[in-house]
Amino acid sequence: MQRSFIARNPSVLLFLALLALFTLVVTVLSEGFGVGVISTSFVKTLGKTLCLCLVAVAMDLVWGFTGILSLGHFAFFGIGGYMIGMWLMYERTRLIVVQSLSQAEIPPTPTEVVDAIGNQIFGVVGSSEFPWIWGFADSLFLQLILVVLVPGLLALVFGWLAFRSRVAGVYLSILTQAMTLALALYLFQNDSGLRGNNGLSGLQNLPNVSAPQSVVSLWFFWGSAFALAIGYLLAAWLVSGKFGSVIRGIRDNEARVRFLGYSVEIYKLMIFTLTAMIAGIAGALYYPQAGIINPAEIAPIASIYLAVWVAIGGRGRLYGAVIGAAFVSLLSTWFTGGQAPDIQLGFYTIKWVDWWLVLLGLSFVGVTLFAPKGMGGLVDLWTARRTPNRHGADLGPDAGSLREAEAKQ
């Protein structure tokens, strides 16, 4: 127990090494800095996948370790994206507006600049006024704080209300889903202040950056890899010690933990809030790579996908969540991108764009029924081979008992 953290968790070091290797290989093969085998759009896809892995780690913490099946973590992810998107959009529009107004004979007043920005951003929803939620949009620093603060506060308030009333299990899932749906529906409205169903767009263009997308995509790729590494380390540290014992205890038997004297509600609230913040960070890294965010991203189905990834990858182990998110989301990109070949059945053609969801649904059911450990469980097969198994030992304690081989005869 007194050994170092890494020594007790060799899988963490292995994971970080693989992640570093992956980042290096992608960089070398990229268009921006390398030989150009991997296209910029695929670098973006990989970068986005790393962000999805990070939010899956958060989901695994809250669901796989603490047993709270939250169907709202993709909402926190989306909020993080909106927060960074507001600054990106504001700043870029400001630069354009300032440039175009500089042609005018009379230099524009600051108010005129702000009005013109408002006109540009909100013209699409028939407005030109800045809503109050854009109050800090001119400051990158403040918006970056909001990336963690807004999801954190929302999770804190929601969690406090839900956990305090001892809402648990499926009811909590429904409640989180309702929260997500309410948020998405609210954002769909044009007067929500976030451009309704148009969402925020052009997020891939960083203001004041002249580097081409092939380079910018790599910056975000590295940023996402770094965030995943830090998030993974944090999560692994959280679940390794006594804190991990307590939250796994809460998952397995909440009442027992309570009678040991731990206030279960506080622990749940802490994990729920922390993972919401991690999800916010992941979202803030994801959407500048995606380029656009709209309320459809926040819809409950996204959070359900998140749960599916974690389930398929294997909940209750962090690398399982990463494997699941990476595997399923990349596969999903492949299938829905029209790259998967259609299957001709003669009387019917299976188009994967339509049938992928059916396949995903079936594999989710399959994993739940037949392999509850998920893909991460495959690692057990490998580790089990290294530990001595008991085959060949006496079947019983007596010296005269049959050996396994004899007993088979």
Partner: protein, 246 residues
């Protein structure tokens, strides 16, 4: 002897059914007490009330030298105040090792921040080893508790209770499903524990109660029917009627 726990005039009803009816009960600082009674007598509900799981409709539950009311406190706070509870079914954290189970139960600060910063000291680990010895699980420290036998799980749970260092131990049917040898050891552990703290044992098995050799409280329909030595209560006509009349 000074009183550790005093329950007076407590009533609990579920949807009109009175599970506990004007129950009064008290136990001293270092005392063993067996609570017996037929099914539905309110034994488990009584424990629920003391540990804060169930709020009574009326009555008082007073704790310790300062006669603090337990009714306003959460389960976690009550446990921190020194009430430990063992459930009827062995409930240990099966996914975790015996050592992790015991470490979690050790009397230490329970706040999330303190727990996050906690690293077991040499002293704590030694304490865990001692406890494991006491409950006969020295060789099983690194095993997952889910692998243990039924009796071993019961002991582990008792060990976790002892690790909590409670002033009052509430033990629900500790000997259920145990072999005679295991029962004997369980008796020994409980008797030893009762030297320094209050122990309340809920039990069906008269033979087990006899071996505990302590004062007995008989519950029936949510109220105390008789109290005294085992011989005293078993010769009580009401008790005979309740037990044999069914």
């Amino acid at each position: 002897m000074s009183t550790l726990l005093e329950v007076s005039g407590v009533s609990v009803s579920f949807d009109g059914f009175r599970a506990i009816n004007n129950l009064s009960f008290r136990i001293g600082v270092a005392e063993m007490r067996a609570v017996i009674g037929p099914n539905g007598a309110g034994k488990t509900t009584f424990m629920d009330v003391v540990t804060g799981k169930t709020r009574p409709d009326e009555g008082h539950v007073l704790w310790g030298e300062k006669s603090q009311s337990l009714l306003k406190m959460s389960e976690a706070k009550i446990a921190q105040a020194g009430v430990g509870r063992k459930f009827q079914k062995p409930t240990v954290f099966e996914d975790q090792t015996v050592e992790e189970n015991l470490l979690m139960a050790l009397k230490k600060p329970r706040g999330w921040f303190a727990v996050l910063a906690y690293r077991p000291s040499e002293h704590d680990l030694e304490h865990v080893v001692e406890l494991a010895k006491e409950i006969g699980l020295s060789n099983a420290l690194t095993r997952k508790s889910g692998e243990l036998s039924h009796g071993q799980k019961q002991w582990l749970e008792i060990g976790m209770l002892l690790a909590q260092e409670p002033r009052l131990l509430l033990v629900d049917e500790p000997a259920a499903g145990m072999t005679p040898a295991e029962r004997e050891q369980t008796t020994a552990i409980l008797v030893e524990a009762a030297k320094t703290r209050a122990v309340v044992v809920v039990e069906h098995d008269m033979e087990f109660v006899r071996r505990l050799n302590c004062k007995v409280t008989v519950l029936h329909e949510g109220a105390v029917l008789a109290e005294g030595s085992l011989d005293h209560v078993t010769s009580n006509q009401d008790v005979i009627d309740v037990y044999l009349g069914r």
